[in-house]
């Protein structure tokens, strides 16, 4: 029996649907609709729909989680009244934004103004196509998923700058420039930190990277790279302390000042999608993905869907860390941010590559890792 993957599930759903359709149709047409190519096509659509639903649901849950957690940090309760513990508050907010008129300033460039949030949203969603959430999420036929994910991730400054420029607003323009400068500056240390992971795991495939962490997670030998990666991700996500592109105190709302209604919701959702991707990447690269060390009782790790459950728990814990940072730190200034990026992060990331190489060369991984491997 082939291992069950998300795509095989989608394939089964598509085949069942088409089979049902085929029974209702005359024989010739039935043969046409159940052809393998048609099934494959529908399976792709079903796959995408499942992924879209899962990622959007998670994003909305993430916003709720941040609101509640931030509320507790601030000695208040967060959303309380809509739904149980405010779970439906975000849906209400989304509905409100959906019903709102979308106003485009007269002097704004139409194409850029509309295209930028759409493209930002699409690229943010696209990353989920390559992220494995547990074993069997995809079949490992893409050997460069990590690289692909980071490439799609780094499209964002382009669209942000496009939207900011198209808005024809001074605050937007300054915010857009800051955003572009910041994201490009922090791409470099992020990629270098990822190189350290690649050196240690020997693969660009996220599934392989996670499987390499079956015995010890990479956070211990690559602690430096983890710090660089998390700081870089904070800058990429534009969250406090690196949220200066949309520093509301001086730039009103930064690059999305002119966006309202559903377009604002697009930016907002895409921001949280990217925050989710950032947390997922931290879990995949440094915290062992869906795996647990072998000394953890197997009852905890082998129930149905255990991989997904533990993966999401870790992801939410990592995001909780981001929320904590947001609750505790003030915002840095542009020049300080860029100096930090180029002068501190890049050397640290380079150092972590050297460390990874040393670790690989010395073969002392079980000692450095939190858990020595027992019986492979």
């Amino acid at each position: 029996m082939a291992p069950m993957t998300l795509f095989s599930v989608a394939d089964a759903i598509a085949a069942a649907l088409l089979g049902l359709l085929g029974r209702l149709l005359p024989a010739g047409a039935a043969h046409a609709v159940t052809a393998p190519d048609v099934v494959l096509g529908l399976a792709t659509v079903v796959f995408a729909a499942i992924l879209l639903a899962a990622s959007m649901l998670n994003t909305i849950l993430l916003i709720w989680y941040e609101r509640k957690l931030l509320g507790r940090f601030m000695d208040r309760r967060g959303a309380m009244h809509v739904g149980f513990a405010g779970l439906l508050q975000n849906f209400a907010d989304g509905l409100k934004l959906f019903r709102k008129d979308t106003v485009r300033p007269r002097e704004a460039d139409s194409l850029g103004f509309w295209a930028s949030p759409t493209a930002y949203m699409i690229t943010s969603l696209l990353i989920f196509g390559v992220l494995p959430i547990s074993t069997g999420w995809n079949d490992g036929s893409l050997p460069l998923t990590l690289l692909l994910a980071l490439v799609i991730f780094s499209f964002a400054p382009l669209f942000i700058f496009l939207g900011a420029w198209a808005s024809n607003n001074k605050y937007s323009l300054i915010g857009g420039m800051r955003s572009a400068a910041q994201m490009i500056a922090y791409e470099v240390p992020i990629l270098l930190a990822v190189v350290a992971v690649v050196v240690l795991s020997g693969s660009f495939d996220l599934t392989t990277i996670v499987n390499e962490q079956r015995n010890y997670w990479f956070w211990a030998p690559l602690f430096l790279a983890l710090i660089v990666f998390v700081a870089g991700m904070l800058a990429e996500m534009e969250r406090i302390p690196f949220d200066l592109p949309e520093a509301e105190a001086e730039l009103v709302e930064g690059w999305n000042t002119e966006y309202g209604g559903m377009l604002f919701a697009f930016f907002m959702l895409a921001d949280y999608l990217r925050a989710l991707v950032g947390s997922i990447l931290v879990v995949l690269l440094f915290l062992g993905g869906w795996t647990w060390p072998s000394y953890v009782p197997s009852a905890l790790t082998s129930f149905p869907l255990a991989g997904i459950v533990w993966f999401m728990v870790k992801t939410y814990l990592v995001f909780g860390l981001f929320v904590w940072v947001r609750a505790a730190l003030p915002r840095v200034r542009t020049d300080q941010l860029l100096r930090l990026g180029w002068m501190r992060m890049v050397p640290l990331a380079l150092l972590s590559i050297v460390l990874a190489a040393v670790v690989v060369a010395a073969r002392c991984l079980p000692v450095l890792g939190c858990i020595p491997s027992i019986g492979g």
Partner: protein, 378 residues
């Protein structure tokens, strides 16, 4: 490139416009535009009873209503030649110092919010609410108190107030430590605020800048010490001073001022516990307590019988030195009222302390000025 920061902008904390000329992110020139909130309070005061002007004072500076009530009442009492009883004076000082704490907490909340610190913002607002609860317990209102009267205060503090107040003060002192940990303990905070918005002592004096901004430049000037009014010469406190003249200095001065205010409040509470007595002077002219304007013969008689006079008072308001000038021509209304707003002058010195820094520095610098547009535009 000129950027309009305002009139509606998160940085302004009110309604004013800061026009900024920037090159890239660096500020080259600034041009504050005030007057969006002008309500003609000085002119309206001429058509109101002295005690009715108090209502306007609360709305004049909506975060430091008590201080402005005290300011106007002192000038009016001087003009009307009325002396309040001692207990009223202590209640006024207590109110003014509680107000200073509340105002500084409000400043703290707004200032850290400008830096992107959201948690201390809510901590500041939470603790300010405790002080507002105290105000509510003895004035009935949380912001617009209408508490002071010519010749004293409206009513005495209720039973058990002093104990409750002491509890709140103890709580606040513990919280101030937390505030410092959240701000001074953060490297990013120090990197953002050190050597920022520097306004050295000679320039500060030349511009007429007062209050914590002046004291952060090393000038030990505090009207409560230098020109003691009310019973400030009866209480012990220190005037905090730093010589860095930057945003961090202003932060330190204000935090220490809150601690000193707690000290003053405690002394006032002790005195109030020991000395019961009246809170409103006897033999006040009848119309000072009247809610309506006397007309006809009564007004004529009052005008003839009551002495004329001038009143001038200055108080150390949370934002700086406020002044009031009241002319009494013997009528039931003041003939002329004029105020000196500290914030207006502190804002105008922005031409001196903003250029050279970056756009991102504007919110913390202006936040450290503690802008209250209500008193600024009056």
């Amino acid at each position: 490139m000129w950027i309009n920061m305002g009139p509606q902008h998160p940085m302004t904390h009110g309604l004013w416009n800061l026009r900024v000329r920037v090159e890239g992110e660096v500020i080259r020139d600034v041009e504050p535009e005030m007057g969006f909130l002008h309500r003609g309070i000085e002119k309206i005061s001429e058509n109101r009873h002295y005690n009715e002007v108090i209502t306007l004072m609360d709305r004049c500076c909506y975060v430091a209503g008590m201080s402005w009530e005290q300011l106007f009442i002192q000038a009016s009492e001087q003009a009307l030649k009325v002396t309040p009883p001692a207990r009223a004076e202590y209640l006024r000082v207590l109110s003014a110092e509680l107000q200073r704490i509340a105002s500084h907490l409000m400043w703290y909340a707004a200032f850290v919010q400008d830096l992107g610190l959201m948690t201390p913002f809510l901590y500041g607002m939470r603790d300010r609410d405790l002080v507002l609860d105290l105000f509510q317990s003895y004035t009935g209102a949380r912001m617009t108190y209408e508490y002071m009267r010519v010749g004293g205060v409206r009513n005495d503090a209720p039973h058990g107030f002093t104990d409750q107040c002491r509890k709140v003060l103890d709580w606040l002192l513990a919280r101030f430590v937390e505030y410092d940990q959240l701000c001074l303990g953060s490297t990013i905070f120090r990197k953002r605020c050190d050597d920022l918005g520097v306004l050295k002592a000679p320039e500060a004096v030349a511009y007429g800048v007062t209050g914590p901004m002046l004291r952060s430049a090393g000038v030990r000037r505090d009207l409560r010490k230098d020109r003691p009014y009310s019973v400030y010469d009866q209480v012990e406190f220190d005037v905090p001073v730093t010589d860095t003249a930057d945003v961090t200095g202003r932060y330190l001065v204000r935090m220490e001022e809150m601690r000193q205010s707690v000290r003053i409040c405690r002394q006032c509470l002790d005195w109030l516990d020991r000395n019961p007595g009246p809170v409103l002077a006897d033999h006040l002219p009848r119309w000072l307590g009247a809610p309506y304007a006397p007309v006809g013969r009564e007004a004529y008689l009052l005008k003839r019988n009551y002495p004329t006079g001038l009143g001038f008072s200055m108080v150390e308001e949370p934002h700086g030195e406020a002044g009031a000038y009241v002319v009494n021509d013997g009528g039931e209304h003041p003939y002329r009222v004029k105020f000196r707003s500290p914030v207006l002058i502190n804002i105008w010195a922005a031409k001196r302390y903003l250029p050279g820094y970056r756009i991102a520095d504007i919110p913390p610098i202006m936040g450290s000025v503690d802008v209250c547009v209500g008193e600024c535009d009056r």
